[in-house]
């Protein structure tokens, strides 16, 4: 049964990916990439990672789609026909994909309890967490306490990324220069 769900989700993912390549209407492309994120979120649920699925559906489906739609109002809805040949990009994509697939051959088998990731610090987290932190969701405990430094880094990354986008888009410079660009 779970195999069936996996196959259905992956088939839909592939289908969505191919339609993304073919379509020229950017509005449809944005909505389809939202659907792609939603399908990935479903895939994460079948992998027993609800926290990741939650983030993917909130960020990928919700906010990213809205931001892309906002960008669409600035650039128009139709993609222009490419003027040059697409041989080189195709070659780059094929080579990169081949390297990535080659890389997966070395990965430990999925879900095997003997994998290095399950042998390193995870057993300690799972055993000590009830006495040390006593939180029902181990993921929260790991994120906020055991890996507090990492999460602080992530928060800072979000802050920095937001600051970068704002500096590029908010038009602070235009306003300070006077009335010429004050079209708000």
């Amino acid at each position: 049964m779970t195999d069936l769900v996996d196959v259905a989700l992956l088939a839909l993912l592939a289908l969505t990916g191919i339609s993304l390549l073919v379509l020229r209407n950017l509005f449809a492309v944005v909505i389809l990439s939202g659907i792609y994120s939603l399908l990935s979120a479903g895939l994460f649920v079948t992998m027993d990672a609800p926290d990741v699925a939650f983030t993917e559906s909130a960020v990928g489906v919700g906010v990213a789609t809205v931001l892309m739609l906002g960008a669409l109002t600035l650039v128009g809805h139709e993609e222009k026909k490419p003027t040059r040949t697409r041989i080189l990009p195709l070659a780059v994509v094929v080579v990169t994909g081949a390297v990535l697939i080659y890389g997966t051959l070395d990965l430990p088998p999925f879900g095997d309890p003997g994998n290095p990731i399950h042998q390193h610090v995870v057993p300690r987290y799972l055993e000590q967490m009830p006495e040390e932190i006593e939180v029902d969701n181990v993921v929260s405990a790991v994120l906020a306490s055991y890996r507090g430094y990492d999460t602080m880094g992530e928060t800072t990354v979000i802050f920095t990324a937001g600051l970068g986008v704002l500096l590029l888009l908010s038009g602070i410079r235009r306003r300070s220069r006077g009335k010429e660009g004050a079209a708000e």
Partner: protein
Amino acid sequence: MSHNIILRIATKVVVPFILIFALYVQFHGDYGPGGGFQAGVILAAGFVLYALVYGLENVKRVLPPSIPFACMAIGVLLYSGTGVVAILNGATFLDYDVLASDAIHGQHRGILWVELGVITTVFGTMVSIFYAVAGRRGVE
């Protein structure tokens, strides 16, 4: 989209629940899936949805751009401030054990503040970026 009455009414009904759900995700993060990142995005999504239907100007009256902009920095300050408070109490940076009378309550308190920092920064960043993108030529 502002002329569609079904969208307008549905948004009015749904937005409060989205905001409450964000708080639920935030504070239920200790017991189920969720936490500051997801809650921040959902909280921002509530305001974004309102802006899409009722226009950017109406949302800016409730939430002037300076508030999410300040939130971005306040969140990071809350997070690192929790670490500094731990230092002041004689532990290492971000060691929550000393934040309350016993270690487990200290951990709970530390996680609470840290997650508050995360939701604040994520919410502020998402709304600020949305304002910046949408403000270039209103969402009509």
